[in-house]
Symmetry: D2
Subunit: 286 residues, 4 copies
């Protein structure tokens, strides 16, 4: 009987030094805290332009935004698709921003590929092993979200599927797991961030927006993630959260993001991480 | 702000009478208990022939067997792929069995479609909404496994995605949810079977093998499912469970399956369900 | 370093034959399905008299009813305390019913002890080990509810605490575990009932009322429990569920209980269990 | 029908300013990070003396140590009971340390009361409402651990039981909740710490030792807790973790605790908290 060997390529036993992924001038997994910000979904030219302009002015280098959105209900907004991708391209060029957007299905890979700098695998696809194998054959960095029902081992085995295909640029993203307590949308597994760093050489970032589902908790959840050793954060921000077509309650107002950046920097420094975006921001604003 | 409307087409409010799906002479969702049996994965001609021959002789009409297997580890057996499909076709013709096998990814749909009578959507794909939409455009019955982290509402909304595409032949399959207690592989949500029957007109079957992960619990979990109102059962059985390439511990021995069928019939009758397979079996064995 | 040995006295390895607990003429764990019915809480003389009279007339031998109620909120009805106990005594004598009521705290044991035939340990106390030790020194049968966060092993170890004290009359009661899915109040661990029967010689009963929290699911959950091998059922029933001071939504109407008893008997017979209460009921009603 | 009103006295609506609890010169809930350290259980005079001496020398003001231990197995070490309490008293006088120890059952309250400065209610007792009511009548600060299956609302309602009794000195302690992922002992609900701070005026501290069950994760989990806004930390430390009679794997070595204190101070300062223990420690070591 054949049975499940554990992950190898994803482990610290295989590669003790930390993997650093170099993309658009950012060194993810390095000493600099990596920040991604943007709306849940691309909704309109005006929306994505406002957000892109704002975060770019803050020194943030990467924009998130969904063009194809996995939604629990078929009656919810499903994304702008091709038009959304074009809008991402437009603002990425205008503001010199890296782009991260989700490939929701293998059949959409070819369409999305040219538009994104980092391929996002959503938590709902973390156990879609056929998809992961194909992603392993691509040559762009991959952000692998943890499934909301995935154990640590299952998460690292999912990374293993991609690594085995030859793509070594995998970024792990903790985004909260599903538990009995629904007072938050999910439960951010903060110790899991630290454990993933111990078990694997891959960069580990945190998504406090999906994890909490609650704008008022983004700041403490972000600071906690930095303190626990996350290599970066992916944060949802919207120019008008009350009117957002998806995930409004967990989207920061633009000004809220700006206001919390100095706190990010302080905690980052306390754990010996640098924040180059903050420095450039200061330069920009001199 | 747009927000999530609930399921409509999947609900009893939309359609009060039970949906009955007619496939290969079985009326799934009707008064007759529907049985599927077979191995986790197709492993060889000898294996699938032994199992198919045996269950056919018991009067069982549907054979399960995976050709493409979603496995937690990339180092585990991944299925025979095309060869597995061909073997399923061969025994289905020889023993006049309906076939149910999983489509693991949308990109595999065209390959698997001609070989299967019921398209199985695995629990790991229950939230792959792009996939579900495409499945909604097909014309074959679909078995939609509940995600191991899916709430009742999310499960029915997944069915809604398929129904909205125009495919009204959706069979719901409860297969255990993930909980803190790992003494069983998953926790069979027995009351969820009854609740799904109340909320939806779609047939609901139970998979006691995935739910328990333990051969010694298949019989009580099956009897409980029948008593709770399941329209059918999908059970893993293998000619040599100790040597199975996947899910051996939860696979019944062939004789065990035979021995428990009379108990299935008794409990089914107690809740006013018939068991035509049992009748034919008796005819065969006269 | 000392570490946790597993349960011994509670195991089938220690005692292979099933434990049968003889109380008030019922043989719990024997071949006869054991039934307990009654309200969540004793509320008034009129209420408890109506319920007791009704279930007694159905042939049911045991009445449940809380005098001290553990409530999540301090502002909810907390029980009638001494007055509730006196009311239980009164109807138990009038209708010749066995009584089961909860001892909510060790400090209440002496007060409750004379009024109850079976000492109920609530799920919230299943890990109160000091309490369990003291209960082990008593000489009455104990109904040990599974904690809503207790693994199978923790449940059996809780029984072990009582058995070690010298009290061998422990009845295990599955009442649903807490999971991410809140569409039911708890998730009835039906395979856990079967597993407990395999691992332990102690009687195992099911509480479908706490498990589902939903009156419309009591019947299927009860039938499933019987089919899975439960030795008995504890069911909440109220003369006026809409006005119940606690757990109204999960309380059956009296007539509903009566109507489902024949189905209980049919499924019980299908798994070779007898239902003496049903026989007496028929005698009574001739 | 009566139904569950939510907490009042525990809420920020009732009392908007933060509650500060003054005990043995510490102001818990104030601007100063509150630290408790000590072994899981008091094991011997030598053990508790070594630990007490060491933490006192670090400037830490409060010693934890169980005399009555709730253990999952009756065969595990259950604590030294009276002797353990006497040893706590002895070292508390010798090193001028505040004491926190668990009252495992109401019947043990009188025995433990004189020996402790803060009454600890364990997570297994968080829903023992009779006990909570009685604790509400005492006049010492209470540390209320969150139940491992308790929602945020249930936790605050448990505090409400104590507050209603008249005892306003309740400290909330997050210690990890039970989830499907057993790669850590429990899942530290870091966002829950921040949410509790928003919903309630009561001090909230974190127990990274119980939450992770893993010595190597105590530092990141502690730093994350501070960053998320915890008012303090309770950390298990042992003079010889490999030989500890309980919870060895999650106990820090004495030197490890010392080494991580400067990091605690840095992160505390980053979120504008002070660390007076650190200052005194420096004075002591000049």
């Amino acid at each position: 009987m054949t049975d499940t060997p554990k992950y190898k390529l994803a482990s610290r036993q295989w590669k003790s030094e930390k993997t650093i992924i170099d993309v658009k001038g950012c060194k993810i997994g390095g000493n600099d805290l990596f920040l991604i910000a943007g709306p849940c979904a691309v909704e309109s030219e005006d929306q994505i332009d406002q957000v892109a302009s704002y975060i770019s002015n803050l020194g943030i280098k990467f924009l998130r935004g969904g063009a194809f959105k996995p939604r629990t209900s078929p009656y919810s907004f499903q994304g702008l698709h091709k038009e959304g991708l074009e809008l991402l391209k437009q603002v990425s060029q205008q503001y010199n921003l890296g782009i991260i957007t989700e490939v929701m299905d293998l059949s959409l890979l070819d369409e999305v590929y040219p538009y994104t700098d980092i391929i996002q695998i959503g938590s709902r696809n973390m156990k879609n092993y056929h998809f992961l194998k194909e992603i392993g054959k691509t040559d762009k960095p991959v952000l692998l979200k943890r499934g909301m029902d995935a154990t640590m081992e299952e998460w690292l085995l999912a990374a293993e599927y991609i690594l085995l295909g030859g793509n070594e640029q995998v970024i792990l993203c903790e985004r909260g797991i599903r538990t009995f307590d629904t007072s938050n949308r999910n439960t951010l597994d903060i110790a899991g961030i630290a454990l993933a760093q111990q078990l694997s050489h891959l960069p580990v970032i945190s998504d406090p927006s999906q994890a909490t589902g609650n704008r008022s908790l983004i700041k403490p959840a972000s600071l906690a993630s930095i303190a626990a050793g996350a290599d970066g954060l992916m944060i949802e921000v919207h120019n008008d959260p009350k009117e957002a077509l998806s995930d409004g309650p967990q989207s920061l107002y633009l000004e809220q993001l700006k206001e919390m950046l100095p706190a990010f920097e302080k905690v980052a420094q306390a754990v010996n991480k640098s924040c180059s975006w903050q420095k450039e921001h200061e330069t920009v604003n001199v």
